[in-house]
Amino acid sequence: MAVEDIGSGCSSSGDQEFHVLAVDDSIIDRKVIERLLKISCCKVTAVDSGSRALQYLGIDGERSSLEFDELKVNLIITDYSMPGMTGYELLKKIKGSTKLRQIPVVIMSSENILARIDRCLEEGAEDFLMKPVQLSDVERLRDFMLRGGEEERELGRKRKTPDDSCDCRPLRKRPTPLATACSSTFRALEEPVIVHES
C-alpha cells in the first residue's frame, strides 16, 4: 500500500477541512478511526455514544442554528453495536431530523450480516464498512464524499424548502472498490463540502 504517497500534507485552512464525527463506544476503535481520519486529512470529533453524538449535533438540546452551522459536520461515521443507542438507531434519528438528514452517515460493524447492511442502507446510510476499518476504506470514503459533494450541492440548490418530504433521495449503494478507484496521491480539497444549507 503506497501510504508514503499521502504524506504531502493536509490543507491547513480550517474552513476547508472535511469534518467527521466519529461515534464508537470502544476507546481503542475511537483512537484508530481518529488516526485513520486524520491521516486522510479530516478534522475529527470522536464521541463514545449515540446520545453524545446527538448532543454534539444539537438535536438533543436546544442549540441555536447559528452554533450548529459553525460545527459543519460533513460526515458521521458510527459503530453499529453500541450500548444504549445502536448505530442504526442513531442513523434513524439523524435521518429523521430536518436539520441533520443531509449529513451522510456511514456505519461500521464487525459482523457481516446482510440483513443488517440492507437495513442500514435502506434507512439512508451512505456506506457500511466492515471492522477493522482500514486506511483504504477511509480514503475511498473521503474521495467518494468529495465527489458526491458536488452533486449534493446541486440537489440542495434545486430543493428550495428544507421540508423535504419527497422520497426521491437516491438510495446509496455500497460503492464497489473498483467504482471508486481513488488515486494513491493526495488530492487537496478544492471546495468545502457543506451538506446542509445555512
Binding site: M1, I27, I28, R35, I39, S81, S110, L135
Partner: protein, 145 residues
C-alpha cells in the same frame, strides 16, 4: 537489529499471535506519531483488564447470564480484532459460540484458555516493543510525514 525486529514480528505472525491488522496499525505511524501502535495496545490492555474482570464476575453468577456474557465478549473480540490479536480473537469467537448455545462449562473452559492466550500475547508484544524502542523511532516509522 532491524532484521531481528522483523524476524520477531514474523514469528509472532507465523505462530498466529498477530495478524495483518497489526501491520495496518504500524503503517499509520509516522515521525509525528512514532508510538501509535504502542499507544493503541496500551489502551487495549487497560480495556481488556476491565472486560476480563467483568467477565470473571459474570461467570461466578448462577445461572449464567449468557446474553450479558456474549455482549462483554463481543467487546473483547472487537478490540482484539482492532489490534490484530488473532489467537485472543479466536478464543473470543469460541466463547461467544458457547454463549449462543448456553454451554456454561464451555464458556468457563474457553475463558481460561483465553486468559492464557492473552497473557502470552502481552508478554510477546512487550518484548517486541522493548526491542523496537531500543532500535529507535527512526527505523520504526515507515511513513514519511
Amino acid at each position: 537489529m532491524q532484521r531481528q525486529l522483523a524476524n520477531m514480528k514474523q514469528t509472532l505472525f507465523d505462530q498466529g499471535y498477530l495478524d495483518e491488522q497489526f501491520i495496518q496499525l504500524e503503517e499509520l505511524q509516522d515521525d509525528a506519531n512514532p508510538n501509535f501502535v504502542e499507544e493503541v495496545v496500551t489502551l487495549y490492555y487497560r480495556d481488556s483488564a476491565r472486560l476480563i474482570q467483568n467477565i470473571e464476575q459474570a461467570l461466578e453468577k448462577s445461572p449464567l447470564d449468557f446474553s450479558k456474557l456474549e455482549c462483554l465478549m463481543h467487546q473483547f473480540k472487537g478490540s482484539s480484532s482492532s489490534i490484530g490479536a488473532k489467537r485472543v480473537k479466536s478464543e473470543c469467537t469460541q466463547f461467544k459460540e458457547h454463549c449462543r448455545v448456553g454451554n456454561a462449562d464451555g464458556c468457563k473452559r474457553t475463558f481460561q484458555q483465553l486468559k492464557k492466550e492473552y497473557a502470552t500475547l502481552r508478554k510477546k508484544v512487550e518484548v517486541y516493543f522493548q526491542f523496537a524502542r531500543q532500535i529507535g523511532p527512526v527505523e520504526k516509522a515507515c511513513r514519511s510525514k
